[in-house]
């Protein structure tokens, strides 16, 4: 079988695009849950470049880093969603424009 190769920069381009979409969603979206999902999108984009570089340099540590990023992302999502629930309980809105008082 002929070995087929995918250029490394294809992966980096896709990863950069996902990250840019995450940044744009973070800036554009007004719903606090969607803003959170944009952060997850950014983390996914970074993970892709981690794995691509790990495959390129034959370094398995890149995959372990991805594992740690996933763990931290899961912890962040848990606490963040709990904060969203707390905000909704006091503010009764998910729009970040209406959450304008520092006091919860």
């Amino acid at each position: 079988m002929v070995p087929s190769y995918v250029p490394l920069w294809y992966y980096l381009l896709l990863s950069g695009f996902l990250f840019a979409c995450g940044v744009a969603g973070f800036l554009i979206k007004r719903n606090i849950i969607t803003i959170f999902m944009s952060i997850e999108l950014m983390l996914n984009g970074v993970n892709l470049s981690f794995v691509a570089f790990a495959a390129h340099w034959h370094a398995l540590s890149g995959q372990v880093f991805v594992f740690f990023v996933m763990v931290v992302a899961a912890a962040e999502a848990t606490v963040g969603l709990a904060i969203i629930i707390a905000v909704y309980r006091t503010r009764e809105t998910l729009n970040v424009d209406q959450v304008n008082l520092l006091k919860l």
């Binding site: 979409c21 800036l27 999108l41 424009d97």
Partner: protein, 170 residues
């Protein structure tokens, strides 16, 4: 063949990411994010990272997104409304995103050499990852478990009812 698979999964990724931005209702955004994550798992498989692909499906597309969908349904989140702030955000965010992606693409393309990733080149066998994880990265691994414990307790404290958090039980 691998290039075709890469392009197919990449198209799903790009479409899902754009759809996440375009949709107004959070549940649609969540579903497109699940599509992005599943397609990314395919990309990881193409890169020979089977362990990461499995963890991506189980943890990200599974656990984290279930949490998101659960909160969306719990809070009965509807479509986001347009405000002054959202108009400003779109006016600033869309050019910012375009600038960012063009910048990233320019840097990547300028430095793009002939390097390519051989498919299945990486010895991504779970045994070797376990060796790394439980030997070389043992301390970070243990610290992560403490982090998760703190996250669990923080989530319980934050999401519980205010009177329950202060210890007043009827």
């Amino acid at each position: 063949m691998h290039l075709i698979l890469f392009l197919a999964f990449g198209a799903v990724c790009v479409g899902g990411a754009v759809n996440l931005l375009a949709q107004r209702h959070p549940i649609n955004s969540a579903l497109s994010l699940i599509a992005v994550m599943a397609a990314l798992a395919g990309e990881y498989l193409l890169l020979g990272a089977e362990f990461v692909a499995a963890v991506q499906v189980i943890v990200y597309a599974g656990a984290v997104m279930v949490l998101f969908v659960f909160v969306i349904m719990l809070l009965n989140a509807g479509e986001e409304e347009h405000t002054n702030g959202s108009r400003v955000a779109v006016l600033l965010g869309v050019p910012g995103m375009l600038t960012g992606s063009v910048l990233v693409a320019w840097v990547v393309l300028r430095n793009s050499g002939t390097e390519s990733v051989a498919i299945g080149a990486l010895p991504g066998h779970p045994t070797e990852i376990a060796q790394l994880l439980f030997h070389d990265f043992l301390l970070p691994f243990e610290v992560t478990s403490v982090l998760i414990l703190i996250a669990i307790m923080g989530a319980v404290v934050l999401a519980s009812k205010p009177e329950a958090a202060t210890g007043k039980v009827e």
